[in-house]
């Protein structure tokens, strides 16, 4: 009964989203107030129905209803409760339902937090989101219905893939989807602007917080995924340039370009067309990511050919989205105008250059991800491009980008002078060069690339401190330096924090790639080895039993200078249902280093092959990512987004003579 209720709710959600996608947009174009007013209630009703559908699916998992095919495929009666819930999005059907649920979450968020926007704008934005919803509801209902019954019902389920039975994987997909789908809001704003022909600073200001929130979720999602791969796959790596990872990284690169371009559009009115185009591409890449991961082309282009329905559907959605939005762009963009002019040496130039670098990087990832698929589908041979390609491309592209990251925020808008920039950044230059040269020497081994890495990290850090110092000295606020810094606008502080996060991230990456020590070795019981100043002693393996697995648990005592530092317990598990072996690494996490041990195979007489890593500063990689995301959060709490809402509401109350005028005035107020 419950699965059918879920299916029914999903069909209702589709019906509502059709209304949401057509009526408000038509109303906004034709000027019918009553049609415009449908947008908000429709989005809210749609959310209620999709949430109900999702709730029904969760319920079928919780009660182990193996008469539902998807539940029988993904779950098992022995599965612990929290993994039964995360199993909901452990497979294709459920994760697509999560996709539409999150689209519903973003839609209702727009409908609730858009009181400051003119009604016709909200109608268009929610309308576009409604149309996207229609596409994805049809996809779920026609090709991937999670509520399909199984006749006769299965006695027990086939269990969740053991790799996914992990706390990190409970929150990773929702975070990632919040990011992917969140860019649909930026996209909807861009399309709404094109439809209305109103592309101005006010539009950028409305769109900006939404884009930043989507970006921060995507950042968190990617960071969590990388962290999961690090501790769960047993290989000690944190990024593999795997197509699935690239699928999430491409929208991130494009989205990062977008939030910077939006900043210019808001502050200076320039880059308008560029910003709109970036918004379209960012969301298109999110769709491409969904297509790559969900169509089966990655496991095999032939798998796509044998079961083309799903892939073809998403591909069609992708082509439609890109096609329609670019046509609209080509038709409307020439009317937009260029906006403020700027000089070769200016903050605009720095931001534009960084935009281009990010896009070239994104294009390089796209090439490395899609070209092998293309060759294969044309039967022209099978190739792969591994990490060496991406590493070779990324370093030279990101080095100038990171250099400009410090220059951009220091340079003046419109026209900056080189001597002024040099004077203001001279200490940053000196400190970062010295630290860049010294750090590798302190770490024991010098190298040009690592030295460049540290220089870049310190360069960005110093520039952040310099910016804060300059602002504090100019500030009229009373009190000490700290309170002066706190009194700065949150968007500025958020930017500083996010840039600082990038610096922390670079330190982590440079340290790990330069000073990591790996040892694969055979260890008999009682054997010891020395690594990174620590002594690792293997004390044998015992059998342990988990809720749904049996494991060999190794015991490795770690000593430093004769004192026991920690005892590591890596496991080799066999999950009982799928009889799948899995390595569970043991990690001792520290601020400056991780000690990482995983079991290989039993060799003979209780001896095992063991892999031991010493990973300096590895947690700074995810720490940096987290700080970037926090920076994004800080930026969206900026007072001006709230202030604008108050002013706009006041204007709205004073002046009921039409939405067009409201926005013009809103924009004027904000600019003054």
């Amino acid at each position: 009964m419950i699965p059918e209720l879920g299916l029914f709710a999903l069909i209702l959600a589709l019906c509502v989203s059709i209304v949401q996608g057509i009526v408000p947009i038509a109303g906004a174009q034709l000027g019918y107030r009553s049609w415009i007013a449908i947008a908000r209630p429709a989005a809210q009703a749609q959310f209620v129905f999709v949430a109900l559908a999702f709730g029904c699916l969760v319920y079928t998992f919780v009660v182990n209803d193996f008469s539902v095919r998807y539940v029988a495929m993904q779950s098992n009666s022995l599965l612990p409760m929290m993994y039964r819930i995360s199993a909901v999005w452990g497979g294709h059907e459920g994760s697509m339902l999560l996709w539409v649920l999150i689209l519903g979450v973003w839609s209702i968020a727009v409908s609730v937090f858009s009181k400051n926007l003119p009604d016709d704008m909200v109608a268009r934005v929610l309308g576009v989101m409604g149309l996207i919803s229609v596409g994805f509801y049809l996809f779920v209902l026609l090709t991937s219905n999670p509520f399909d019954r199984l006749l006769p019902p299965a006695i027990d389920g086939r269990d969740l893939n053991p790799l996914l039975q992990d706390p990190g994987l409970i929150i990773h997909p929702p975070m990632l989807y919040m990011g992917y789908v969140g860019f649909s809001v930026a996209f909807a704003f861009a399309i709404a602007a094109l439809l209305s022909g109103r592309l101005d600073a006010a539009w950028a200001r409305w769109s900006r917080p939404w884009t930043t929130v989507a970006w921060l979720f995507l950042t968190l999602g990617i960071g969590l995924g990388s962290w999961w791969a690090y501790y769960e796959l047993g290989w000690g790596g944190w990024w593999f340039w795997d197509p699935v990872e690239n699928a999430s990284f491409m929208p991130w690169l494009m989205g990062t370009a977008l939030i910077h371009s939006l900043a210019v559009t808001e502050k200076r009115g320039s880059f308008k067309n560029w910003t709109v185009l970036l918004a379209i591409f960012t969301f298109s890449l999110s769709l491409l990511g969904t297509f790559l991961v969900r169509s089966g082309v990655l496991t095999s282009v032939h798998a796509f050919a044998t079961d083309p329905e799903r892939g073809a559907f998403i591909l069609m959605l992708l082509v439609l989205t890109i096609g329609i939005s670019l046509t609209l762009f080509a038709w409307r963009a020439p009317k937009v105008g260029l906006g403020g002019r700027f000089n070769l040496i200016s903050r605009e130039s720095a931001l534009l250059t960084n935009n281009v670098l990010l896009i070239v990087a994104c294009a390089a990832v796209l090439l490395g991800t899609l070209y092998p698929l293309l060759l294969d589908s044309l039967d022209m041979g099978k190739i792969s491009v591994g990490p060496p390609y991406f590493d070779a491309v990324f370093l030279p592209l990101m080095a100038p980008a990171v250099f400009l990251m410090a220059v951009g925020p220091i340079a003046r808008w419109k026209l900056a002078s080189v001597p002024d920039i040099v004077v203001r950044l001279r200490w940053a230059a000196v400190v970062s060069l010295v630290m860049g040269l010294l750090t590798p020497i302190l770490m024991g081994e010098w190298g040009a690339v690592r030295s460049l890495g540290f220089t870049m990290a310190f360069w960005v850090m110093c520039s952040v401190f310099l910016m804060l110092r300059e602002r504090a000295m100019k500030s009229n606020a009373s009190g000490n330096v700290f309170s002066k810094i706190i009194s700065q606008p949150n968007s500025f502080l958020g930017m500083c924090m996010a840039h600082f996060g990038v610096a922390v991230f670079i330190i982590g990456v440079t340290m790990v790639s330069s000073y990591e020590i790996e040892k694969d070795m055979r260890m008999d019981v009682g054997d010891s080895t020395e690594l990174g100043g620590y002594q690792f002693t293997f004390e044998g393996v015992t059998q342990v039993k988990g809720p749904n697995y049996n494991a060999d648990r190794g015991q490795i005592v770690v000593k430093k200078d004769g004192v026991v530092e920690t005892v590591l317990l890596p496991e080799k598990r066999i999950y009982t249902v799928q009889t799948m072996p899995m390595t569970e690494a043991a990690i001792d996490t520290g601020f400056l280093r991780d000690l990482y041990v995983s079991l290989g195979e039993p060799v003979s007489n209780g001896a095992w092959s063991v892999r031991i890593y010493y990973k300096p500063f590895v947690d700074w990689i995810w720490g940096g990512t987290f700080i970037m995301a926090l920076g994004g959060l800080l930026a969206v709490t900026d007072r001006r987004y709230r202030l604008v809402s108050r002013i706009a509401r006041k204007i709205k109350a004073d002046n009921k003579s039409g939405a067009e005028e409201v926005s013009a005035k809103g924009a004027a107020t904000q600019e003054s």
Partner: protein, 153 residues
């Protein structure tokens, strides 16, 4: 005049930058492409000699042995038509097993042994690497074709 100059500088700098970036990307791409070959391809001397490539097929039953150091592993990769011996030093992925599909990256030494630097793992028990599947099918077709020809004579 000045504005025109400025625009020219913009365009020249931009184009130069993009050219450099594109050259860099394509160069990196060219030198890091890794091709995939089956044991039959290798026997037909299609695989490169002084360059890494990927070898795929099944791990032959009973072919796996371990040296005393516990890390160096010998096994044979087959596509049921031809075989290639492989040596790998290191810890094998969880799902490496005799009779299962495998993809290894490395190069041939002068004795015709494939020295693997990496053995690739996949996340699923029932999963067969698509390249391997394809290689097996090609080898099957080739053998059945060569069997069919004498019969028809």
């Amino acid at each position: 005049m000045k504005a025109r100059h400025k625009r020219l500088v913009f365009i020249v700098v931009g184009l130069a930058g993009l050219t450099v970036a594109a050259t860099l990307v394509f160069n990196a791409f060219q030198s890091n492409m890794v091709f995939f070959f089956s044991p039959s391809d290798v026997h037909a001397s299609q695989a490169p000699v002084n360059r890494d490539f990927r070898l795929g097929g099944m791990v032959e039953e009973g072919s796996m042995s371990r040296e005393d150091d516990g890390l160096t592993v010998h096994f044979v990769v087959t596509d049921r038509a031809q075989t290639i011996p492989v040596i790998f030093t290191g810890i094998l992925p969880d799902l490496f097993r005799e009779g299962q599909g495998v993809v290894a990256q490395g190069r041939l030494n002068d004795k015709g042994i494939f020295m693997a630097s990496e053995v690739l793992a996949k996340h699923d028990e029932s999963y067969m690497p698509p390249e391997v599947q394809d290689a097996m099918e090609r080898a099957k077709k080739a053998t059945s074709a060569s069997l069919a020809t004498p019969e028809s004579k």
